[in-house]
Symmetry: D2
Subunit: 309 residues, 4 copies
């Protein structure tokens, strides 16, 4: 259970007290505010604040005095045009603030997206909780044979059981020692000084949970989601991206639809691939040999053309 009753109560308090505002309000986002969306075994994503809505994108694109909206269909057309032609600045005019609880190894991937603001729970200052990500057996996959950085088949039950036992035991033992090191009591019950927290944390494995506030504009969020909600992303970060997608869909529904059509579901083709397509569309037979592509590129190209057949 990720939240204590006190934390639940705090969230209820916040949701119980709407206040009037003159700012752009997104009904879809209001429904999400502060609520915990569980992710993995102990993690979550919560929307803490947002700025702007679909019409704020149009308002900025038009540099207008009022709401910027002409008509709903007109707005959607403009948003789709902006997305299709990579006009990114109007999307930067919306902003999202999230509270995320996530394993450290996921946090290390996430933080590579530098165009965002972050406040992480400080382990120099505070004591981390005894919470570790232990995968479900069905998520324990073997190293992929094809893809050097991906996963292959699910492990068989014995191997899987062995892995889970190590993960659990090592996490518990590391945390026991972490606690013992920062304690003012020695294992024999005598007083001790207690190791500095900034040092003791080094004993904790990368599946321990951390937390942060993460704030990002919509353009950079879409970039993050395109990479991390993708089938090639590591499962443990993808589930966070998926949870965020659900929020964004409700917050800025027009922008999200355009994002789905032109980015998430879109594909980028190389000069060679476009040339092949043109030949294929006039009836020419094209093979890898006559395509000018490498074997790997050809395979990827075939994947684009045949998907869902």
């Amino acid at each position: 259970m990720p939240l204590t009753p006190e934390q639940e109560a705090e969230i209820e308090d916040l949701r119980a007290a709407p206040k009037p505002t003159l700012r752009a309000v997104s009904e879809g986002a209001e429904a999400h505010l502060y609520k915990v969306h569980p992710v993995l075994d102990h993690g979550f994503v919560r929307m803490v604040d947002y700025m702007g809505d679909d019409s704020a994108i149009c308002q900025a694109a038009r540099v207008s005095y009022g709401r910027g909206t002409k008509s709903v269909s007109n707005d959607e057309g403009l948003i789709r045009y902006l997305m299709r032609h990579w006009h990114s600045t109007p999307f930067e005019m919306c902003e999202l603030k999230l509270h995320v609880k996530l394993p450290v190894f996921v946090a290390r991937q996430w933080i590579r997206h530098r165009t965002a603001n972050v406040n992480e729970y400080s382990a120099r200052y505070s004591i981390l909780d005894r919470e570790f990500y232990i995968p479900r057996a069905e998520d324990l996959a073997a190293q992929s044979a094809q893809n050097n950085q991906g996963r292959g088949d699910v492990l068989n039950p014995e191997e899987s059981a062995r892995v889970l036992q190590w993960l659990r035991e090592d996490a518990m033992r590391s945390y026991d020692h972490y606690e013992a090191m920062i304690s003012d009591t020695s294992p024999e019950g005598e007083g001790q000084q207690g190791l500095a927290r900034e040092l003791a944390r080094m004993n904790l494995p990368a599946n321990i949970y951390t937390q942060w506030y993460w704030k990002v504009d919509l353009h950079n969020l879409f970039h993050f989601l395109r990479l991390r909600a993708d089938a090639h992303a590591q499962y443990e970060i993808r589930v966070y991206a998926d949870a965020i997608c659900e929020m964004v869909k409700d917050w800025v529904p027009m922008a999200y639809r355009a994002f789905e059509d032109y980015r998430l579901g879109g594909v980028t083709l190389s000069t060679m691939a476009v040339e092949c397509l043109r030949r294929m569309l006039v009836g020419e037979e094209v093979t890898q040999e006559t395509s000018g592509m490498s074997a790997r590129e050809w395979r990827e190209f075939q994947g684009v053309l045949k998907k869902h057949d």
Copy 2:
């Protein structure tokens, strides 16, 4: 008058329709929303949206589940601590969106602050209005003799009159030609094709007004204000910075007070200056010769010590 009656009406509409929100609300900011704060002869600053308030800074610093506030005095203490010790990330958790109308030469200085989001009115797409910044006579100053990039005394009336006449006439003539070039009618009243707007704009001088939406987080806004609300900044950008200071003071009063105390009114002293101070405080007489500073640094140092005497 910067606004048309239609624009005034649009703004009134926006201010007349508060909606409920669960987000952090700053009463001080709500009072500013959408209103026009005139700057220079035709310019303005308007607050279009904001995210967060003083307690959102504390909430992020504490990575808390609820509002993050413990007590008001506690919050102010935390904010002052964060400002004093250059912990900038909690301030990045607040965001401000402004609509600004400003002369192009001011826009060119402003845009050097890169950590912000901008949507500018497009002169490739739209036709610019006939509005130019013409300084008041009392703002027409001579080149400074001391400071290579500053201003000295106010021009005498004759010189000033000459300057103003040139500025006005050149602006009007350039705009006449701009209009004539993009028109579908020639000066003789015959049809013409009309030059592309993206080309015609090159004839317009740098005192023409442009507009943009500008969005920035509070940390970067403070950085902008420290440089641009400073006595060394060009007057024409300083008046915009001053207008923004008034808004920020009402939006996040605790953070603004800390900013005033530790940044705006604060000074940075070099190793040599600190060493001199220590000697002076124990009664030693220190001169430029014995200070280790250059003449210019010594003058600046004296300015710090003697100000307001």
Copy 3:
């Protein structure tokens, strides 16, 4: 002529004195260093410094101890893989520093690319030269009827002559007054104070030339080039992008080829477009009506499929 004999001599001096270095050296880049590549009537681009080469991209991608190169073909394969899969960080490990002279209205577009370092010639501090961009008659195009922000047909000779005369006369008159305003002599030959430069510059039109040092990493440079070397970019910035492309081609030839194949010549297709393609490739007749696309999107899609037929 963009350079004075003194400037030419300074450049010759720099090119005459190679020094030994242990850093990665790109022969192709060395041939460009400091040389002036003229652009438009008075502008130029010069490469002032560079960091890294093709193998530095691989070295960073592999986090290797030595040069990082395994074999030339292996390096090219890796670079193409990184480009195809949007792994941008290795390209960020190369850096280019340019000295550019360009009209102010081009500089205003250029500066919107924020992820770069800029030092511009200061018109608060220094006096701008009497150099203005005056287009060639064949570059004077009418506003496009189809595309709201583009150009259509070239103006006819009479209209063109009218435009050129206005541009030339307004530029000269504005500059005459700029000089007169900052001068210590009045038009009547008497002494005057001389208006501050930071004010006088406001009278200068947007086709005056400015200069800057611009430094950018290769990933962000590619992003700039993709947008600005594109057919939809304004001609006056595209010629700068084209000149930079020639330098990059010589500096990092493998990376540039990958950029050409996957970005410059590549296309991004939406979910609907990919779906249509799949149907077309199995022989189905698809029309705009059955495509799910808007008229405009369908036209763009047809453009991709039929180009060069």
Copy 4:
């Protein structure tokens, strides 16, 4: 020993083959290139590339055609002026690329400095080495009683021995299990699939070493060094900052001296502190009560005035 003989040989090869270049060359930086500067027990910093030198800062500040140098003393004066007045863009014109080996918990602090380019060794792709940071006994300090995020006294020998044993044993056991999980052989010697590396890494504690290429401009590097070479920074990152300071001192000696004088050794005083100083300098007795400062601020202020007495 951080390097294998093969790695040492690669470095020797790189250092043995100087090539001619026309770019700015810093003799001080050349002496460092590729060499390993050991930090902590298994870490290091190596300079992999640099762009620019002291005169490149002046060249950019002056937007000059040639080297930009007028005279050495003139250059140093300009650099000091730029530093003192927070003109940061000329310093951004120099760039440094480092190869760093560092414990994961240090990497997590380091990466918060977002304005830099990073390529980290991928633990999804590759297998991490069995190398862990184990502090020296004299670096094992207790949690500070005064400062919530700092260290106090060194632990006594018994407590210290206990901590070191836990750190060593937990690291070895976690790594044994990491190896066993990714292996294609089970503990009983039978075949197994081998857990995906991206999952197995979650068992490794934060004192394991990772590596990255890190590239940053000089302005942002100075910001990093000011925060991380500071007495309040955690010891384990400070030793990296110190090692980098030694390199920067040799690479751009003038800029480094200005940085030392105005940033590293400088102090920022608040409005209240400056006011107190003025009163004290005219002989007034000022106490915390009459200063307007909180107890903590007053203590910090006293520290500035009395240091080194």
